[in-house]
């Protein structure tokens, strides 16, 4: 199935063709930009969901999926998990926490391995999200790996960022130093069923108010399903993205730069030469700046 065939069938709602199209984009066999998936207007339809491992991102996304599907929306999820830096393999386990993935026809979930992209975002994620919107999904959720600083890269792809936090993760200084709090358009403190969640939410509110233009902080429980419809309606009413446009362009630039570097034909040879001491990192960077060889 070539890309044009897959695209034509995927637009009519054929899941298998859509799945194949995503594979073709992901593996670099087709250039998403050629099919028009590369650029789009920011319209709030791509939501990034980030937060540390174990805060309940996948379970919360599952609740959101049910809510949106019940309202008649078609939603796609790109759930990212890390690839092993050693073997390149990956165990993709977000899907098993999303019951909606297997049960609701309005929902399409695709597990995506990082394939060792720095920043924790696969190079072609933007094109994959664009393809899903093009093929009739009303919104796309990108669930990130959830490890710290690198997560900032999500603003390169997502129009809005939902940061999921949980209680019992230390004091709010932990949340502040991650840097993501500054970029989040909305914060959901999950596990409201646990002690200390309400206080934790208050602490986050407090620290956000210090910086002015504070995003909404919601208390939810993915386990019990509380606060979910409030979260959905607040998501609908979000103002313009908080991440400064300049920060978004910065992340996009870095993302494209790394993609260009890592998809070079000679990247493996470069690594070989570095490993054997044949060349050095500054030398290679120098070559790039001077123009290609």
């Amino acid at each position: 199935m070539d890309a044009e065939t897959a695209h034509a069938a995927a637009i009519t709602g054929d899941r298998r063709s859509l799945a194949r199209l995503l594979t073709l984009i992901e593996s670099g066999n087709i250039n998403g930009a050629e099919l028009g998936f590369g650029s789009r207007v920011e319209d709030g339809r791509i939501l990034g969901v980030t937060g540390s491992p174990g805060v309940g991102k996948s379970c919360l996304v599952d609740r959101l999926l049910h809510e949106w599907a019940a309202a008649g929306e078609r939603v796609a999820v790109l759930a990212i998990d890390p690839s092993s830096p050693v073997t390149g393999g990956a165990l993709l386990g977000d899907r098993m926490r999303m019951q909606a993935a297997d049960d609701l026809d309005e929902v399409f979930v695709r597990s995506v391995a990082t394939r060792n992209q720095p920043g924790g975002l696969p190079v072609r994620l933007g094109a994959m999200a664009g393809a899903l919107l093009d093929c009739g999904y009303d919104r796309v959720v990108v669930e990130t790996v959830g490890t710290g600083q690198a997560e900032v890269r999500i603003v390169a792809v997502a129009d809005r960022v939902l940061l999921v936090e949980g209680p019992a993760r230390g004091d709010s200084i932990q949340a502040e130093k991650a840097g993501l709090l500054e970029l989040a358009d909305i914060v959901a403190v999950n596990k409201a069923d646990l002690d200390g969640a309400a206080r934790f939410a208050e602490e986050i509110r407090g620290s956000l108010e210090l910086s002015g233009q504070a995003p909404p902080v919601m208390l939810v429980s993915a386990l019990e399903g509380t606060g979910i419809s409030e979260l959905v309606s607040t998501l609908e009413q979000l103002g313009p993205a908080r991440a400064a446009q300049r920060a978004r362009w910065r992340e996009r630039l870095l993302s494209e730069w790394e993609a260009a570097l890592l998809t070079r034909d000679d990247v493996e040879q470069l690594l070989d030469r570095l490993e054997s001491g044949d060349t050095s990192v500054p030398e290679i960077v120098d070559t790039f700046y001077r123009g290609d060889d």
């Binding site: 298998r16 799945a19 594979t23 393999g89 993709l92 899907r95 098993m96 993935a101 049960d103």
Partner: protein
């Protein structure tokens, strides 16, 4: 290098957009490891998932207690190359054929299906006839399972039928099975 796909109900061979099980392509295989039915034991499935990951593949684990319909949906949406079914509950004679039939109905003919768990010898021939290409029981080494995956790669590269709906009578010849 060939890629089999389905058009108008026929298996066609194309040369474009190749990435599948060719050994010289660095794109990892996508493998779904599934637990059909009410069986609550997934230690084996998790060991297999981990071994395949360590061999450089991308493994999607479904979690426990999935229906055949849910499993086929996962295979479709994830565009998986292989599907591993694990059952220790004795319900394999109902669940495995159901999954295979649904895969064929969904025209996912090129998906390679293998099984594992507690599958008595007497039950194996009929499952293999359905298009399941290998059944791994207790005592199977990880090396053997990976050898199966590698041989599949070679078969696919040579355009030999390996998927659940591609026919042919090839099955994995166990080397160290108990």
């Amino acid at each position: 290098m060939t890629l089999n796909s389905i058009e108008n109900g026929k298996v066609v061979v194309q040369l474009k957009g190749v990435r599948r099980l060719d050994a010289d392509v660095s794109t990892p295989l996508r493998i779904v490891i599934a637990k059909p039915g009410l069986d609550g034991h997934d230690r084996g499935a998790k060991v297999i998932a981990r071994a395949l990951r360590d061999a450089g593949h991308e493994v999607i684990y479904t979690g426990l207690r999935r229906t055949p319909e849910q499993i086929v949906r996962t295979v479709m949406d994830e565009d998986a190359d292989l599907l591993g079914l694990s059952s220790l509950s004795g319900a394999h004679d109902f669940l495995f054929p159901r999954v295979c039939n649904l895969l064929v109905e969904a025209e996912l003919l090129d998906v390679v299906v293998f099984g594992g768990g507690i599958i008595p010898d007497a039950d194996r021939p009929s499952l293999l006839e359905l298009g399941i290409r290998a059944i791994f029981g207790p005592g199977t080494t990880i090396e053997e399972m990976l050898a199966f995956v590698t041989e599949l790669g070679e078969r696919r590269a040579a355009g030999e039928p390996s998927g659940v709906g591609e026919g042919g009578d090839w099955t994995w010849q166990a080397t160290g099975d108990t």
